[in-house]
């Protein structure tokens, strides 16, 4: 009986949390479609004009283009930089390896506000702060380690025998890479790619600190408009939020084809048996 109550309490909590979340998200959705909404359960009249308003007034076509360009560049560069390092870290043993792993772990652990301020200072000093290139470089700081840590277990699953066999048959290093490693790590590259994509699009702090007028991503532009609440009609800000939400949701649907939800957070290892 007590077990039942306990189970019921858990479901009630989950239900409460999900209802809360749905309320929050659908409030934005409904508000973006409202002509006027003032203290009634639903708006009295609906309209889609706020989307057109937001699109032209917030220059969203350009912002969206910049966002997609930045996100794709970060994905490609993070994978190129992370792939070889992940291979070595999965295959070789050397002194200082735990230290190296800790170093790669720090940008993921330390909150971005803490290292973002000195990073932004440094970037403005070298005149790359505020540019699209600067935003890409800043976002790569946590994303290169993320790529390394996602790819490592995929390399660990590939049997060494395959590489040895290929080498024995006369394949050189490039051929081993091209014919053995690359095809077998495609699932890992996809997983890492979509997770980096989702993370970059929704990453706020670093982009906020280093972006300038022409290099804002969607989420940073959204922040400025929420912050300046009252300057623009709230419905238009919500319309922008809905466009941001749609972008993230589409990427998330894509991501969930490759990864399980528990893989989207830090993983703690199992206790020793």
């Amino acid at each position: 009986m007590r077990g039942r109550l306990w189970g019921l309490a858990l479901y009630m909590f989950v239900l409460g949390f999900i209802l809360n979340l749905l309320g929050i998200v659908s409030h934005v959705l409904v508000s973006s479609l409202a002509k006027r909404w003032f203290g009634t359960p639903l708006p009295t009249a609906f309209t889609t004009e706020w989307f057109a308003y937001a699109w032209s007034n917030f220059d969203l076509g350009r912002v969206l283009g910049v966002t997609i360009f930045i996100a794709l560049a970060v994905v490609v560069l993070a994978l190129i930089l992370g792939f070889p390092a992940a291979y070595i870290l999965a295959r070789r043993n050397f002194r200082g390896k735990p230290l190296l792993l800790l170093l790669y772990f720090l940008p993921l652990l330390i909150p971005q506000m803490t290292y973002g301020i000195p990073l932004a200072t440094t970037m403005y000093r070298y005149a790359i702060g505020g540019t699209v290139a600067g935003v890409i470089l800043a976002n790569l700081v946590p994303m290169v380690p993320l790529a390394v840590f996602i790819l490592m277990p995929f390399f660990e699953q590939i049997s060494m025998n395959l590489e040895w066999g290929a080498a024995m048959m006369g394949a050189n290093r490039f051929q081993v890479f091209r014919r053995i490693l690359l095809p077998l790590t495609v699932p890992g590259l996809l997983t890492a790619g979509v997770l980096i994509l989702v993370n970059t699009v929704s990453n706020f702090e670093l982009t906020f600190l280093v972006s300038g007028a022409g290099s804002q991503t969607l989420v940073v532009a959204l922040f400025y408009n929420v912050f300046a609440g009252g300057v623009r009609p709230v419905y238009s800000v919500d319309a922008m939020a809905v466009m941001y939400m749609t972008t993230v949701m589409l990427l998330l649907l894509l991501a969930l084809r490759f990864v399980r939800p528990t893989q989207m957070v830090f993983r703690l290892d199992q206790p020793q048996r």
Binding site: H27, P111, T114, I117, V141, F227, R260, R267, D269
Partner: protein
């Protein structure tokens, strides 16, 4: 992970170096160097020549500045306790899997992916004076007059909870469901009740995971920035240390002082991270992937 022992032949040949070097250089140039440069800057106040601790002294003697530390603790500590407790209870209850689990975990990923800004905009509307939350509670007669839930401390706590609870829960779920069920079964066979199983058997096994969850959630909450601005009173009750650092850097353009505040913030977070580093033997240094919850 097997560690190379001293004297064992290192497997770091030229090829391996070439592979690791690009990413290592990147982390050194873009992460370590700015960090060190920030510390250096913080010791070179703009108005003085040479090295000085003036920035730190100013920070800790100016009440407007040093009280941000207490404000941040006042947000981070309660938030961490609430988030970890709820996440632990739920993860423990779901350790053997429950009905609709995949759906529930998928929905819980949403707030993580949507990000703080969107949640903030939604919370402003939903919990605002004319939002659905008040309409329902006032309509049902639960409340006599609307509560003030946004643009104050409560708003920040709401948004932090929505953001960090799913994160902490999924992390702990992966950990708890990895504990060998036969341990619990043995305890039950030997006559232990549910409470004894939880307190005497499972809690010690989960302790390292809980400690790490505590540390991670604390460190994340200590850096709270956008939700403290959008949902709090950034000039008053929720002026956190991150806001203080940001203002110095981008409103007063005093990079030296801003760096000093960032260093202070980093030191408090480092204290939280030490827990993780001390426990790192128990932790795979992997951000994702692996066995986890199936």
């Amino acid at each position: 992970m097997r560690r190379a022992r001293v004297g064992e032949r290192s497997e770091l040949d030229a090829m391996a170096m070439v592979c690791v070097l690009p990413s290592l250089l990147y982390v050194l140039v873009m992460f370590v160097y700015p960090f060190l440069y920030g510390i250096y800057m913080s010791l070179r106040p703009a108005k003085l020549l040479g090295f000085s601790l003036a920035n730190y002294i100013v920070f800790f003697t100016d009440e407007w500045q040093y009280r941000t530390v207490w404000i941040t603790f006042g947000i981070a500590v309660p938030n961490t306790i609430v988030v970890v407790s709820f996440a632990l209870l739920l993860a423990y209850g779901m350790r053997r899997g429950i009905w609709l689990e995949r759906t529930i975990t998928t929905i819980l990923v949403l707030p993580i992916s949507l990000g703080v800004i969107l949640l903030a905009e939604g919370i402003l509307g939903f919990y605002g004076a004319r939002g659905w939350f008040h309409q329902i509670l006032l309509g049902l007669g639960v409340l006599k007059e609307p509560l003030v839930l946004t643009h104050n401390y409560i708003g920040v706590m709401l948004s932090l909870f929505m953001q960090q609870f799913p994160f902490c829960f999924l992390m702990l779920l992966g950990y708890v469901s990895g504990i060998d069920p036969s341990i619990e079964n043995s305890a039950r066979t030997l006559g232990a009740g549910p409470w004894t199983v939880f307190y005497k058997v499972m809690l010690p096994l989960m302790a390292p995971g809980i400690a790490i969850a505590f540390a991670l959630v604390f460190v994340m909450s200590f850096g709270v920035f956008p939700s403290a601005i959008l949902l709090g009173q950034p000039a008053g009750a929720t002026r956190t240390i991150a806001i203080a650092a940001y203002q110095q850097a981008f409103e007063f353009y005093d990079m030296s002082y801003a760096s000093a505040i960032a260093v202070v913030m980093g030191l408090f977070q480092l204290a939280g991270l030490l827990v993780i580093i001390l426990l790192r033997r128990r932790m795979v240094m992997a951000a994702t992937m692996g066995v986890g919850k199936r």
